[in-house]
Subunit: 418 residues, 2 copies
């Protein structure tokens, strides 16, 4: 099956917003094994949208359209698509009721414009919108399928993953299942070298690496007659990955490192405290992104000056004098003292030169010390980043935060074995 994605919106053409919808849909289609050769963006323009739709169906069986389902006269996606299929529009009473109820909750009167969103092409499958007013729609005719989705990502993404993926899955022959294995501490090139080439060459299950900002994901996808058959086909592949790269894997089907860290701490009833210099609060910010983090996050202290490191964290002035703030010794004391101050099980620290200014001959910009105190030890990790590009400062901070969280996770797991 071949798919194509058409994103509709003048604000995309003007660069006012980034087209995350297309990426989200593309990834979803890739996971379902549907090939996409083109993505197109057009404005809220009847003629150009109609041209794009015709071109898309001339080369694809499935067209996903996002955006242009709003209540105003500018929003034309539904009208143009219904016209393409020759279908009249009629009000869907359930959707009309849901829209009126949602607007009422927000204290907004339901107008004729809003009522337009309850108009549905005859015979279309309707997908209710939990996070907005415009429903999603699927129209099938003569082997062609058009799926219309609202443009705002917070409406489009949950609708796609919870309603459109199951819908497409049921339309496809057989069943598709996939797992996402997340790794930290290994690059994409190294990973491809370490794993057997046959895994990447196989057509069922397929294995695809995705590199993203310091991390790598491995997505395993299997097709079969049943979910059980798919799972069975994936088991040996996942086993091989764990066997060879297990040390780098931090989770399967998990959203990110901080979520895994919070859950692993929660499971052990352990708490963590952070003392940040270089990362300026980024580590505590990441951890507290996770709902329920309050159960494991005790305290974060962000000290940018020597005097605050001494006064609030209790780093010895002699340590700062003798070794400097960016040193193994200071990182160790920061981690140790924040742990004590918070009465936490684990204390972590970051200190380093994020640039652009700063650094010494022995510790140039990009030098970072990470401290971890707890679990019966104080461990210091020295990191060195040689990034000269425009966003070096934020990259160094981001990669340091990942390293801190991954190092704590490794220690927790090592502690289990001991």
């Amino acid at each position: 099956m071949t798919g194509e994605i058409i994103s509709v919106g003048t604000e995309l053409l003007l660069g006012q917003i980034v087209n995350t919808d297309a990426a989200y849909a593309a990834r979803g289609l890739a996971d379902l094994g549907i090939s996409v050769y083109y993505q197109v963006v057009v404005g809220d323009n009847r003629e150009r949208l109609s041209t794009a739709l015709e071109a898309a169906f001339s080369r694809s069986d499935l067209v996903i359209l996002t955006g242009g389902l709003g209540p105003t006269g500018d929003d034309l996606t539904k009208e143009v698509t219904a016209e393409y299929f020759g279908l009249p529009l009629a009000e869907d009473p359930a959707i009309a009721g849901a829209i009126a109820a949602r607007l009422a909750r927000a204290g907004i009167l339901c107008t004729a414009e809003s009522a337009k969103q309850a108009m549905v092409p005859q015979g279309a499958r309707v997908f209710p919108n939990q996070n907005g007013t415009a429903p999603g729609l699927a129209i099938r005719q003569d082997g062609r399928t058009a799926i219309l989705l609202p443009g705002p990502p917070r409406e489009m993404e949950p609708m796609f993953s919870s309603q459109i993926v199951p819908y497409l899955r049921s339309e496809l022959d057989g069943t598709i299942r996939s797992h996402c294995i997340r790794l930290f501490g290994i690059g994409e090139a190294q990973l491809e070298q370490d794993l057997p080439a046959a895994l990447f060459a196989a057509s069922n299950p397929t294995l695809a690496p995705y590199a993203k900002n310091g991390e790598v994901e491995l997505r395993v996808t299997a097709r079969g007659q049943s979910p059980e058959q798919c799972e069975e086909a994936m088991r040996p592949v996942i086993g091989t990955i764990y066997e060879i790269l297990g040390a780098y894997v931090y989770g399967v089907d998990v959203p990110n490192l901080q979520t895994v860290l919070v859950h692993e701490l929660e499971e052990r009833s352990m708490t963590i405290a952070t003392a940040e210099s270089l990362t300026g609060g980024l580590v505590s910010e990441r951890i507290t992104q996770v709902p329920g983090a309050s159960a494991v996050f005790a305290l974060g202290v962000c000290t940018y000056s020597d005097s605050m490191k001494a006064k609030v964290l209790g780093v010895a002035p002699t340590t700062l004098d003798a070794f400097g703030a960016v040193s193994r010794q200071t990182a160790g004391e920061m981690a140790h003292h924040v742990r004590e101050l918070a009465g936490a099980d684990i204390g972590v620290s970051t200190t380093g030169f994020a640039g652009p200014a700063g650094g010494t001959p022995e510790a140039p910009v990009g030098t970072v010390f990470v401290g971890i105190a707890g679990l019966g030890q104080t461990r210091i990790i020295r990191l060195g980043f040689d990034i000269r590009d425009v966003d070096a400062r934020s990259q160094i901070r981001h990669l340091t935060a990942l390293n801190v969280m991954a190092a704590v996770l490794r220690l927790l797991k090592k502690g289990d074995k001991a």
Copy 2:
């Protein structure tokens, strides 16, 4: 002039990366007054890329291509475009030298593959790449212009803004200048209502609002015979905006709120300290993103529990008992005490319910108290967010951080007048 953007890359079609390049280029073209009606994404495929290029030039004068300039055989953008124009490729010695030097710095041997990146279509204008190996290229022929840019945003964005925009400006009739006015605390709808409609309807200078995640930007763009003429044309428009919405403006041609805050504090030789509960380190993380923040940022404390609020920040247990952690009183004490602890000029605090769990009948999820101590007063701001959508937690944290920074800025400016 009509432009079109073609993004090349199989990783875009698979949804492995989001197409930020297209948005960046689109916005740049919009600012230059170049209309864009289509954006297209194709994979690293000779035939489909060639088809897309022909379709684009059938309807546009200018085509921006991003991606596919890498060293491997998959990367075809330059080859396909040169073929389209009928131009042979030849090595550019300056680029070859720059590539070899960059690779040598990274300890990588320059291979035949890398040397491919120094091949340039005959007569093309070459734009050196400060952040990577592939240079940018411009090819002009018979009123058609193709601009080829590297795909990685950290290479593409600086090249576009510092080299392509001036190049396009010099190719266009006359001169174009624009200013970006950034506002916080007012919505796009309110702003359009408050400003004279004539400003938005005018064709020179043009005025365009961009709403982005809690903030609004107003972009004023003028065309004229000289930069001076453009500036003169924009002056009354900017004056009117300041007159009507000055209270909401936090800067002109500035990257973000945290940069303005750091600079305003620096100018006054003032320091700030943060005591965060709800935002979990987000405010300190934002402030320390700014290079040079160490001059103004004294200390950040992130206390998620009552006991840490009492022990580290010195909030009175009686306050916590009587009013709770999410209260006007606790916010005030947090701001006051972190200021004292850090010896800073200003102390700020956040406390609230970000959800999904928590909240009370009087203070439901979305209730936030922001405290600001210093400048001769302690001020408490109560915020209420009624966000029920999937990303409510991160939205509430983000909007609170913006509110904290904007409130401090307002107080600083008010202090100047007093």
